[in-house]
């Protein structure tokens, strides 16, 4: 009884009686919180300044005609980059058409059919290694496989390069998505007499789909912005592509080309193209987030 009374005044103090600490625990707490907030704000600086610069320099030339007209010749004004927008969409689409089925089906194999097999382990390791490979290597690969054999720069070659770039992202996020499906759902399905195929198609894939879509959108967002794999696969073109087997313009290569020329109009157009590209990538990311959060 005595002790309760004597310690009562200390009850709400955050230092023990007789403590020699100069800084109390709650002060430490405030200092650390301050640091975290400060550093978080610091990370916003590059992001915000990129968006600011792109908007400031890109907006003046942004009008509908940039999506419909061809790039201006050197020293000329006006024009747009419709062929580059189309080229980026086509090549990212091609890359997706190649990489998504391979990535998703491989993920199904290594997660559902033979998770502990040698092949599955090899696929996992290779996919992880691929994520770390510089994108220019994907370009070199596509150059060797497509450009060198067909003898021409083409949208196909660009698509293959982007597919190699996207494949590991799609495969690994799909595997995570499948891993995230509760084992209890699979058990219930098997318990009701479903085959493995039925279980995967009716239960596992629908449940994993939002997360797989997120992976695909992230891969698309990354691929759309890449320049290196396209420079020596699709090259560039001043004109509308007539087929998939000829050199094709892309936003990223256009930005690269136009930002290094001495003509102010072209440089400004590179800013506008950057704005379009950033908007496209942001849109893809936001879509991915929305689709994913709707489910979870």
């Amino acid at each position: 009884m005595d002790s309760i009374v004597t310690h009562a005044p200390d009850f709400f103090s955050d230092t023990k009686p007789g403590s020699t600490k100069l800084i109390s625990r709650s002060l430490w707490n405030r200092i650390l919180s301050f640091f975290c907030v400060g550093l978080s704000l610091l990370t916003l600086i590059p992001l915000v300044s990129i968006v600011y610069l792109v908007l400031k320099n890109g907006l003046p030339l942004l009008k509908w005609s940039v999506f419909t007209e061809l790039p201006p010749a050197a020293g000329m004004v006006g024009g747009g980059f419709g062929n580059a927008v189309l080229g980026t969409l086509v090549m990212v689409g091609l890359g997706l058409v190649i990489s998504a089925p391979i990535g998703i089906l491989s993920a199904i194999y290594i997660n559902e059919y033979a998770p502990s097999s040698r092949l599955a382990q090899a696929v996992r390791i290779v996919a992880k290694l691929l994520t770390g490979i510089p994108s220019i290597i994907c370009g070199v690969f596509a150059f060797a496989v497509v450009v060198a054999t067909t003898g021409a720069f083409s949208a196909y070659a660009g698509g293959v390069a982007l597919a190699v770039l996207m494949l590991p992202t799609i495969l690994l996020t799909s595997e995570q998505a499948l891993l995230g499906v509760q084992h209890a759902f699979r058990e219930a399905s098997y318990g009701l007499g479903a085959t493995k195929f039925q279980t995967i198609v009716r239960i596992v894939l629908p449940d994993a789909l939002p997360a797989i879509m997120t992976g695909i959108m992230l891969a698309v967002a990354r691929a759309a912005g890449e320049t290196a794999p396209l420079i020596f696969t699709a090259l560039f073109s001043q004109f509308w592509a007539k087929s998939l087997s000829e050199p094709t313009a892309s936003l990223s290569v256009l930005i690269y080309n136009f930002s290094t020329v001495p003509f102010p109009h072209q440089v400004q157009m590179a800013w506008t193209a950057s704005l379009v590209l950033v908007a496209f990538v942001t849109l893809a990311n936001i879509t991915a987030q929305l689709v994913f959060s709707k489910k979870h």
Binding site: A184, R186, E187, A188, G191, A194, Q198
Partner: protein, 268 residues
């Protein structure tokens, strides 16, 4: 597997069913090198409730999961001996495991409805069996939900997500989903262990109803539950079947010392 209409008529009115409906003979089971079941021999009677009890790790769930060959989802398992349903070995090469699992339904410890509507949960077994006629599916939904005592609560929200149900309702939905397949045997792996007492009573009453139609095998940790809802009880210990008899006899007058120790709470 032949089912004569004469027997099912019999079962409804007079006979409690075949005493050797499901038979286990000299059954050994291994996970890799570890032996989980030792020389199990028992006859499970038709349209009765058989409880499998025993301390954790005694093999009761392993045995249960052999009746529908769910253990085959695990790598490195093997068995010797035999399990027969209506005289037919369930391990026979001519038996398709997907067909076996339709006639030996299972309800899991943690209710696991699919993230689909109540309706789609119930008809899942029929759909994967190739049934798509709406009249058949509708009929199965009503019959199964009535059978699982869930119809009144669910009939106005059949197309809402099953994940909006309460824990007890979810478990009864899982029972409805299992009986929609019209199984011969219903396996229940601690079906009430995640439920509150009121939901538990409902499921136990349901088990009592269901044995009119199905042969039920239930694994339980709860000895009161075994006494309340089972006709026969099998006590397992360290992978061996120690004693198997009428529930009343097991709990009032067990033959084996280990059984007595377990049911009186001296170990386990």
């Amino acid at each position: 597997m032949t089912e004569t209409s004469a027997r099912s008529v019999d079962a409804k009115h007079v006979s409690p069913g075949r005493p050797d409906f499901l038979t286990v003979r000299n059954f050994d089971f291994f996970y890799g090198k570890k032996q989980a079941l030792f020389d199990i021999t028992m006859d499970i009677p038709e349209k009765r409730v058989t409880a499998l009890i025993g301390p954790s790790g005694c093999g009761k769930s392993t045995l249960l999961r052999n009746f529908n060959r769910m253990n085959e989802l695990i790598d490195g398992i093997r068995h010797s001996g035999d399990i027969r349903l209506l005289g037919q070995s369930i391990f026979d090469k001519t038996v398709e495991v997907i067909a076996l699992r339709r006639s030996v339904g299972m309800v899991f410890q943690k209710s696991n409805p699919f993230p689909k509507s109540i309706y789609e949960n119930v008809v899942y077994g029929l759909r994967i069996g190739g049934e798509s006629k709406k009249s058949v599916l509708d009929e199965a939904v009503e019959r199964s939900l009535r059978g699982a005592a869930l119809w009144d609560e669910a009939k106005d929200r059949l197309h809402e997500s099953a994940l909006g149900l309460s824990g007890g309702q979810m478990q009864r939905l899982c029972i409805a989903r299992a009986i929609a397949n019209r199984p011969k045997v219903l396996l229940m792996d601690e079906p009430c262990s995640a439920l509150d007492p009121i939901a538990t009573v409902k499921v136990e009453e349901l088990i009592h109803e269901l044995k009119q139609e199905f042969t039920i095998i239930i694994v339980t940790h709860n000895m009161q539950q075994a006494t309340r809802c089972s006709d026969k009880t099998a006590f397992f210990y360290l992978g061996k079947l120690i004693e198997f008899a009428e529930t009343q006899k097991i709990f009032s007058n067990p033959v084996q010392k280990q059984t007595e120790d377990y049911i009186t709470g001296r170990f386990g």
